[in-house]
Symmetry: C2
Subunit: 446 residues, 2 copies
């Protein structure tokens, strides 16, 4: 039976297989409150919460990574300008609506984004302190009065309990089948006695729409961080998390990942000064946390039966490794072979072989990451048993098909590609393809 | 009811809706013979012809455009070397097997490709005169003895009737649901009394696999052409045909488009000398013919209900225009909106907006093809009625939804994007997406 996916999925039940990814409790960062309320932004939405607020009782250092699309939604322009003007300091809130992207809406759209921010600012009592996000249909104006009217409700209902955060995580969803919320505690080297907290939520649509699913993420922590450290820290984390899944964060008009740090837990301020152990440790925490959150989007892949890690190692450049991993992860033929439990490494190789071909619009690259006779491909089982070599230095192995089937039966699987051209590496996460597409391609080899 | 697509589709019936694309007669170039015979290259294929031969009774000028994939199949390496060695002259035949790609098969694979060519050469009585193509599964050695044993049969059965050409077109197919064969007559300016002929066949798989469906094409004409003119002529045609459909010709390990010209019709030799009217005319004929053949691949798109032309005009560069057209044509969200008859120009814009973003692996480009406030998008009905403007200079129009629905009801449709940054243009052909994918995305806006 297929689980029908629609805008208002979350007003129905969460699919049983996904329930394990929805936490029933959490440890949320001090000084933050969250809420998710129903507005009815999208005509036809009669119950799903669609207005989300995360707000801090004190000023935060904040940063955001935005879409690279040439057409940027109004909330993206607004929030980018805001963070620049504030130099990443003094932020308090993130206000989000789902159901309408407020994209390609001209001057009016910018005014709407500003109205959402200002209304929040007024209720919070701090000027120019609200980041705005929107997700949904493009090219239609927001029902702004309705939204603005409900912002006081969202502020009023905000709280710091697990339920508050979960409602908030639900309100940012569109076609997601489950809300994606996580929280964690950690310590930093210079203040081992302080318990720091980080929480985050994300939303992204089905795997079959890799190039335009809007990705929104809010990360909040109670560590004190210098404003200047925020952007490099977040960019590092995003490149290794939301930009490393096949619903990738760089293509819709609205993609935004924001990080707020309010310092409510106390301790020394973390700065990005060279060699700072606290900065290095925090960056690792945020990167790991963001990667785990990003993986939840992969787990929500439409029809997905497998969670696939694509690891590309021994590459001449990290960018090259990423391009190869991404090409493999995006390849419909690789993904159907995985679903069909077919050890079709030829498709993996084919995708890799095209990853670094220069498009006619761009100058050729310098580095040579791929040389057929140095390329090796293996399946790595997640149960700790030895890898299964499929291709070694460009030569096909005699594959033990029974062993391959055994590995492909597992829900989680790693594809390991050794390029043999350097020492750089990357990891990418994706899922398989199933259903109709498989009818055509999944059984092609047999 | 879905039409089940599998390797041996053609041993079953052609889907009724596609029958109109299969010709029942043709005018084939003089001096060429064709055949398609059954070998059983792929285990389990018990009846579909899978060995194809096109051969000329005299030497041809020939050229081929090959895949850009870094992993190139053995027949690609072999044929590329052959054409270089022969300087595009003295070729006689093309031998093709389907069912096995002879890709990533090492030295042994190269020997197999050479064996196919040499066996054909011997039967034809001309050394180093055979181009080789293969399509099918990657990484397995060909059943070469079986193939070599059947080449004499293919030579013996070759003939110049429509039935011979159609059998040949069937033999190169894999997951295609109908054979793709065309023929045409034409004249050239300097010899208006001579009737020239061109015939061609192609194969390519379902639309859902844009980045790895192997594309094979054989074009044959009886015009006399100077060997040096062949490559520029073919490259021009391929860029505007097989590289302008969403099953594009530049990504599998095996993609090959070959053109043979044997001069059997007589008349003066066509050279590529500057301003030659014959060359210009022939180039146009071949380009149009190749585009029509390429469109048949789009018509064979899995589950496709629409044939969509994406025209990008007023661009700063032709490469930029192509990147934009291609991004729109590849976008699953655009394609599902078309299937859902939803005038969702936001998705078109979104794809366009990402098309020219520089990947981290490449240097930024010079030209600026996209400026949001100069971009316009229209639907152009194919019945000659006026275009429907959706976006004008970056501002959404008040769209007449009834009119939009009317246009979207038609099987054929054009998306026109004006970039307003120059005078270059391009045309790309694609189809819509249907089925499961639509369950998620097609109804998102309503």
């Amino acid at each position: 039976m297929r689980f029908t996916r629609a805008y208002s999925s979350l007003s129905g039940a969460i699919p049983p297989a996904k329930a394990k990814y929805v936490p029933s409790t959490g440890t949320y960062p001090r000084g933050f409150q969250a809420s998710g309320v129903f507005v009815g932004v999208k005509p036809g939405n009669t119950s799903k919460p669609d207005l989300a607020l995360v707000t801090s009782d004190r000023p935060c250092a904040a940063a955001a990574v935005f879409t690279k699309n040439k057409f940027q939604a109004a909330p993206v322009s607004f929030s980018r300008d805001l963070l620049r003007t504030r130099a990443n300091a003094g932020l308090r809130s993130v206000i989000v609506n789902s159901g309408n992207a407020n994209a390609v809406t001209g001057i009016g759209g910018l005014e709407d984004a500003a109205a959402m921010a200002q209304t929040t600012d007024q209720r919070v009592g701090a000027e120019d302190s609200t980041i705005v996000m929107s997700t949904g249909v493009i090219g239609q104006r927001l029902p702004i009065q309705k939204i603005v009217d409900h912002i006081p409700v969202a502020c009023h209902q905000a709280g710091d309990s697990h339920k508050h955060w979960l409602n908030c995580a639900k309100a940012i969803c569109t076609t997601d089948t489950f809300p994606k919320l996580m929280s964690r505690t950690f310590a930093l080297p210079s203040s081992p006695g302080v318990e720091y907290r980080i929480a985050g939520m994300t939303k992204g649509a089905g795997m079959l729409a890799p190039n335009m699913a809007t990705l929104l993420t809010i990360l909040a922590t109670d560590v004190p961080v210098a404003p200047a450290a925020m952007t490099p820290l977040l960019r590092h984390a995003v490149d290794r998390s939301f930009n490393s899944i096949t619903v990738d964060g760089d293509t819709s008009t609205n993609d935004t990942v924001a990080l707020l740090a309010n310092g409510a837990a106390g301790g020394p301020e973390v700065t990005s000064s060279e060699g700072s152990p606290d900065y290095a440790a925090l960056r690792e925490v945020v990167t790991d946390f963001a990667a785990d959150l990003a993986k939840l989007i992969v787990r929500d892949g439409e029809g997905a039966t497998k969670f696939v890690t694509v690891r590309v190692v021994d590459a001449a450049t990290e960018d090259g490794a990423r391009a190869v991993a991404r090409a493999i992860a995006l390849s419909p033929l690789v993904k159907t072979a995985l679903y069909g439990k077919d050890a079709n490494w030829g498709r993996i190789l084919c995708a890799a072989g095209y990853a670094l071909v220069t498009p006619p619009t761009h100058a050729p690259r310098d580095a040579e990451d791929i040389t057929p006779e140095r390329t090796s491909v293996s399946f790595v089982p997640t149960d700790g048993s030895p890898e299964l070599r499929l291709l070694v230095n460009g030569e096909p192995e005699q594959v033990d098909e029974a062993r391959a089937s055994e590995i492909l039966e597992m829900e989680d699987l790693e594809i390991l590609v050794r390029l043999g051209t350097g020492d750089k590496s990357t990891t990418h996460w994706t899922c398989d393809f199933s259903h109709d597409y498989v009818t055509i391609n999944g059984d092609y080899r047999t």
